[in-house]
């Protein structure tokens, strides 16, 4: 997962940051140095305590994507969409017909834009001006594409 440097704003993936492995202080270090300006920023995702609190506060999904779930930097299941991230529904997966109809009644269908409000205690998404609470097993079946900033969320 990419992070943005607090000093210069450069975004990079701390996991792919080779220089950390070469650093003698790497073990148990929760800092990550920006490859652009060298500033040592806190890597919240590297801290177990911060991750637990983040999940408790509903800021992140309860678990990382499993092997069977399609993820990339652009599309993922709704279940893993970060809080506050705008996305557009691109596919409704294996959902029984009656439930699918109900989701449609709420406006959850392909092409619709939405934002995740929280992940816990139940996932809540916002589309148009409606807040919908849905459990993760439904959210898992909805594939979304992350929207670029400033794109209309329809």
């Amino acid at each position: 997962m990419n992070i943005a440097c607090s000093m210069c704003g450069h975004t990079f993936d701390p996991q792919a940051h080779a220089s950390c492995e070469a650093c003698p202080l790497n073990r148990d270090c929760t800092l990550v140095c920006c490859p652009h300006c060298g500033f040592g920023d806190v890597n919240v995702h590297g801290s177990r305590l911060a991750r637990k609190m983040s999940k408790l506060l509903g800021l992140t999904p309860s678990d990382p994507p499993s092997d069977g779930e399609l993820t990339s930097s652009r599309w993922m299941s709704l279940r893993h969409l970060p809080r506050g991230q705008k996305a557009r529904i691109i596919r409704m997966g294996q959902i029984p017909g009656q439930r699918l109809n109900e989701l449609l009644g709420y406006g959850l269908t392909t092409g619709r834009g939405l934002v995740v409000k929280q992940h816990h205690p139940v996932m809540v998404v916002i589309l148009d001006h409606t807040e919908i609470a849905l459990e993760e097993d439904l959210a898992r079946e909805i594939l979304v594409s992350i929207e670029r900033p400033n794109s209309p969320s329809n």
């Binding site: 109809n101 205690p121 001006h129 919908i132």
Partner: protein, 654 residues
């Protein structure tokens, strides 16, 4: 296959139906259109309440407030009643109430209602909230595009409501029509030629048939001959084969795409509105950390209003003063004077008298408690807070094989289990409804009983209260978890709209409370009197003493209670709070030790529900289910009571 000869459609006084999605303000608009004279009754064959009233502005016209429906085809019992109204009532018009800030969802229902061919007006409600969110809709263009009158309203402020009744398009015909893919249009044409003439357009009937709406299917099966029914089914099957998927999915998607196109042409959102206090409070109410203390505060408020004011102050005034010191002594004297026959005097004003026990308990003890409870529940309901409790408690119910929606009947069960049993229809399938009814019957004490139980336990110690609470919660969770494994069917995951938090409309809350109380008085009080009559008969023929002797091994040896408690448990079957009150009197007389109080309170809480609840379960689920539940709950309650008795004797915690 049912084969029926076609029957004529019903006729009668003209009606206008209010139709719309949940939480859009239908009930508020209904009140404005009808005034004070309203009847609330169960729709025939269902447990769904339907409100009807005479239209203030149109003579000889009724207004029907239908349950909320998200979209056709109908899913839940409530939605099925909404569809059934379309078939059964001679509708001269439909007023669809929609949410102005959620125009897409509103229009999804509108395009389906337009297909019916019944004169339609769209009341776009909550326009003030839409304005606050800077959502603007070009109503003139919308009106031109769909050919339906669109009236902006703010129902809680009575804005725009006056224009609704006179706004119908006279014929119901409009040039707007959803154009489906060619295969579906072809199927519609074929079906139209086979379908009987119904209360609305054949095109709409064909679409109901293709989307397999259960109410439409039932109506068509009644109206159609065997051969035609087979042809209808074959045509639907052929369409599904050619599409490669259920026609419902394609039909709904087509409607949605058309609605999207409409919305693009009529709606604009200008920037983002600042979050008001309602939005902030709404966010906090479902926050994983802040939501819990907010819920605790709400429950505390509920306890103070119902438990302290209702069960304490009001009961004291009514039962202690008014009935105890004024009405009952006067009436007893009068009856004894006018009816010198002891049997009749005892029947009316004796120890198990219809008045002194039945009516006094019903009016002086129970009514104030359920009144305050229904009022508090109505406030929570109208404020939009109840769905948020579903979100907060979803994990707990998930453990029990349910979802957070179950919390709503559970909370209502704390007021009256009989009424809560009716509310289980909000659960999506039979399995979930059965599970919730079982838990209601087993472990949810009604407000009257809860008041007595809390009072008795508090007079012993806080430990006693904790033990009672712990045992009840443990049984609730354990039985819930086990029953979810045993009862066949899949768990339904939570899917729920969270309406914005808003100030409750006091008019609406008071009227709903009165409607609930009217139901309570009509349905439950006769059962009170029946129960009292049974007790009286038993006392006259010495059966209560016989019962005490018969139940000695169970009550005295196993539960460790005095033999007189048998009568309290029998009373508890008739009304759980009767039983608890009987034990309360024994405790006040010093006839029960602390351990005996806790054991008897746990047993009577877990005991089978009152006779009114048994009848309600039988009404909703059948007598077989009702009796099976009783056969499970009865021995479980006594088993737990006996085990607890031995445990407390060994541990000496009390």
């Amino acid at each position: 296959m049912n084969c029926h000869t076609p029957t004529a459609t019903k006729s009668g006084p003209r009606s206008i139906a209010l139709i719309g999605q949940p939480n859009v303000g239908k009930s508020v608009i209904f009140q404005h259109l009808t005034g004070t004279y309203v009847t609330v009754a169960n729709y025939p064959g269902t447990t769904v309440e339907l409100a009807r009233g005479s239209a203030k502005e149109l003579s000889d016209t009724n207004v029907i407030d239908t349950p909320g429906i998200l979209t056709f085809p109908s899913r839940t019992e409530d939605e099925q009643v909404a569809v059934q109204v379309l078939f059964d009532e001679p509708l001269s018009g439909i007023i669809q109430v929609g949410d102005a800030k959620n125009i897409r969802r509103t229009l999804l229902l509108t395009v389906q209602l337009v297909e019916l061919g019944i004169p339609l007006t769209l009341a776009l409600n909550m326009t003030d909230e839409a304005d606050h969110l800077r959502v603007s809709t070009d109503l003139g263009t919308l009106q031109n595009l769909i050919g339906v009158h669109v009236v902006p309203t703010i129902a809680v402020k009575k804005v725009g409501v006056d224009h609704l009744m006179g706004s119908f398009n006279g014929t119901g015909k409009t040039s707007f029509q959803v154009r489906y893919p060619e295969e579906i249009e072809s199927a519609i044409t074929d079906l139209e030629s086979m379908l009987p003439q119904g209360p609305f357009s054949r095109r709409a009937l064909a679409l109901f048939w293709l989307t397999q709406d259960p109410q439409a299917e039932a109506w068509i099966e009644k109206q159609t001959r065997c051969e035609t029914l087979k042809a209808l089914r074959d045509r639907r099957g052929a369409l599904a084969s050619s599409l490669g998927q259920a026609p419902t999915a394609v039909i709904q998607k087509t409607r949605f795409d058309q609605v999207n196109d409409l919305v693009r042409r009529i709606q604009h959102t200008e920037g983002q509105a600042a979050a008001g206090p309602g939005t902030v409070l709404g966010n906090l109410s479902i926050h994983p950390l802040w939501g819990v203390p907010i819920l605790a505060l709400v429950l505390l408020g509920l306890y103070l209003f119902v438990g302290v004011l209702g069960a304490g102050t009001l009961v004291d005034l009514l039962e202690g003063r008014l009935f105890g010191e004024i009405i009952n002594p006067w009436l007893t004297g009068l009856v004894e004077k006018l009816l010198p026959i002891p049997f009749l005097t005892n029947l009316l004003v004796g120890e198990y008298g219809l008045w002194t026990m039945g009516m006094t308990y019903a009016i002086a003890l129970i009514l104030p408690i359920v009144s305050t409870f229904f009022l508090a529940f109505g406030l929570l309901e109208d404020s939009g807070y109840l769905p948020r409790i579903s979100v907060l408690t979803n994990r707990v119910f998930r453990f029990m094989g349910l979802n957070g929606k179950a919390v709503l009947p559970m909370i209502l069960g704390l007021g009256c289990v009989t009424m809560a049993t009716l509310t289980t229809r909000i659960m999506e399938n039979k399995r979930d409804r059965l599970l919730v009814i079982l838990l209601l019957a087993l472990a949810i004490p009604c407000s009257a009983q809860l008041g007595v139980v809390m009072g008795m336990l508090a007079s012993i110690s806080f430990t006693a209260t904790l033990i009672w609470l712990f045992v009840i919660l443990l049984i609730l969770l354990a039985v819930g978890w086990l029953a979810a494994k045993v009862i066949p069917g899949e768990r339904t995951s939570l899917l729920l709209e969270l309406p914005p938090l808003r100030l409750p409309s006091l008019d609406n809350v008071v009227l709903k409370t009165l409607a609930r109380l009217e139901w309570y008085i009509r349905e439950v009080i006769p059962l009170f009197l029946l129960g009292t009559g049974i007790l009286f008969a038993m006392s006259q023929f010495g059966l209560i003493k016989l019962l005490e002797d018969f139940s000695r091994p169970l009550v005295t040896d196993w539960l460790g209670l005095p033999p007189e408690t048998a009568a309290a448990f029998l009373l508890g079957f008739l009304r759980r709070d009767f039983g608890a009150t009987g034990l309360f009197i024994m405790e006040a007389q010093g006839a029960l030790t602390p351990i005996q109080v806790v054991v008897s309170m746990v047993t009577i809480t877990l005991f089978i529900p009152c006779i009114a609840s048994i009848f309600m379960i039988a009404k909703t689920r059948g007598w077989r289910t009702s009796l099976l539940m009783a056969c499970f709950i009865f021995p479980l309650a006594f088993t737990i009571g006996g085990v607890l008795n031995r445990f407390l004797e060994v541990t000496e915690w009390l």
